[in-house]
Amino acid sequence: MAPSRGLHHLLYILNPQIALRNTRRTFSSFTETLANPTKKVQTYISRSTNPFLNLSIEDHILRTSSPSSVILFLYTNAPCVVIGRNQNPWLEVNLPILRPCPPKAQKSTGIEIGIEQPGLGPISLVRRRSGGGTVFHDKGNVNWSVTSPRVAFTRDKHAEMVVRALRKLGVGRARVNERHDIVLDQGKRGRDIDAMDTHRTPYMDETGEEMRKPLKVSGSAYKLTRGRALHHGTALLASPNLDVIPQYLHSPGKPFINAKGVESVSSPVGNIGLDTSVFQKQVSEQFAAMYGSGNERVPVQMVGEEHLYIPEIKKGYDELRTADWVYSQTPGFTVTNEISQDTHYNEKSRLASKIQTPDFQISMAVRHGVIKDCKIEETRVPIGELEAFQASLLEQKLQDIQDWPAFLHSKTSCESKELAAIAKWLGKILYTPEIPRD
């Protein structure tokens, strides 16, 4: 790959026009190969670690690959938090710690994260197109993705393929669980079981005195379209960040958000302890063994940043990076000071939250990321000021309010410190970091 990139680079310097034309031709062939009905089994690995690009390439594969083909795509992303298609970022993610801001700004917005900031630098927030829950990605993961005909598709078959790859690499504790995830059993070795059974291991420890919970090492999420099914998961191979991941996935506003849509199920996770390239190679081999015909080799093809030249990929990439996609695609939810009856929002999560239950009454309804209704009751605030504030919030997009106290002052002339406290409280729950335009 390197020599051709070098040549391409040279061409670009000599004559950008020619290089651009050639580049376009090369990358339009990616689409053609995908759509070629005679190429039934294809494998791609991405050189890019840009989550937006990798997800867009994956979506392009789903949309353009020939109806009867099966495509494997492997990629690794730079650190990011990825939420499911129908999830609520304010509920699933600790948004204030994604993009560390200077302490001064923290003070004005009331977002005081202080020393709890894990030193990972800026983390992208990504909403993917498939369903399921929230995951943290970093360089210690390999994302595996299989696009196949929907007819023969089952929710387990590709997780089973990955388990076969793991076992081949000596990870005998790996199995597929009832949630279609891949887990490593933690028990003592017990009775031997059928080695081909990808749903059971000798380490299941059903009888042991100390039941140790299996550790999740890969999830599963799906996107279904006409005739096609995409199944992907994030295999935790050697993440250096396991200790800080929970901080990113615990939202301080959770006890005060009552949401429709899909809530994540949190599981104890662990590293498999494998090298990226070893895992990629073995998964590719298992994929070829599963779908390849006879001795025919399935060549591994590389994709990368240059695929942004493909207009459809660029379009998907740009869409994923809009605030409208990340924030406004959130299913309807309400913000309230009353603790939800739902068992998920129990006393424990309220106590764990850094945000105090306020002594005013509030009920705010948000739909498509826009405030549709807001009722606040706080007797200490003059009714006129309260009404002006409520009116200014109606039809307001959450993504357009970066700093709630500043928003309050720009919209109303009020001086009431109780009202300022309400704005500050809302800012803690609905903090909406800007999507960087880089």
Binding site: G84, N86, G131, L224, R226, K260
Partner: protein
């Protein structure tokens, strides 16, 4: 569901053949309990064009008797294949849509799928009950679990199948 369909089918046969057959062939009691479904489904009985039609994407549409509005939903087959639905995104009322557009989305067992419309028009009504109880679409996808009603503009696009053709299509698949 199956029971109601077979009632509808029996009713259809009756309207066409009852004239030729001696009245005694149909017991009076039987006619009476057929009254309700017949009234509701009169249009689909009288005009072949207006019976429920299915798409290859497993949606169904049913035109009103005057052909100006239609109801849209997902098929029994689709609901079973999806599994327990945990979230449904409905279209917005008054939204203008074209044939082939996405008018909603469902999520079930970690799977996101889009709901497409085979016909264009304007959304006049949505089944808001599905938002509160997404799982109810699994109980009766072709009845109570309808998704939206449209004021129809233009002709449906793409392949539309009758119930029998659709059944054959899902069995082939």
């Amino acid at each position: 569901m199956a029971a109601r369909l077979s009632v509808a089918r029996t009713a259809r046969q009756l309207t066409s053949s009852a004239v030729r057959r001696p009245p005694s062939f149909v017991p009076a009691t039987c006619q009476r309990w057929q009254q309700a479904p017949l009234e509701r489904r009169l249009f689909s009985v009288s005009a072949a064009v207006k019976e429920k039609k299915y798409t290859e994407d497993h949606e169904w549409i049913e035109l009103s008797s005057d052909g100006k509005t239609c109801t849209l939903g997902i098929s029994d087959y689709a609901a079973k294949a999806l599994g327990d639905v945990v979230y449904i995104e409905l279209p917005q009322i008054d939204m203008d849509i074209s044939a082939g557009d996405t008018i909603g989305a469902v999520e079930s067992v970690k799977s996101a799928s889009d709901i497409l419309t085979p016909i264009g028009g304007k959304v006049t009504e949505v089944n808001s009950q599905l938002e509160a109880k997404p799982g109810s679409i699994n109980a009766d996808p072709e009845g109570e679990g309808w998704i939206a009603k449209l004021e129809v503009a233009g002709e449906p696009e793409g392949k539309l199948m009758s119930k029998d053709e659709y059944t054959a299509f899902t069995e082939d698949a």
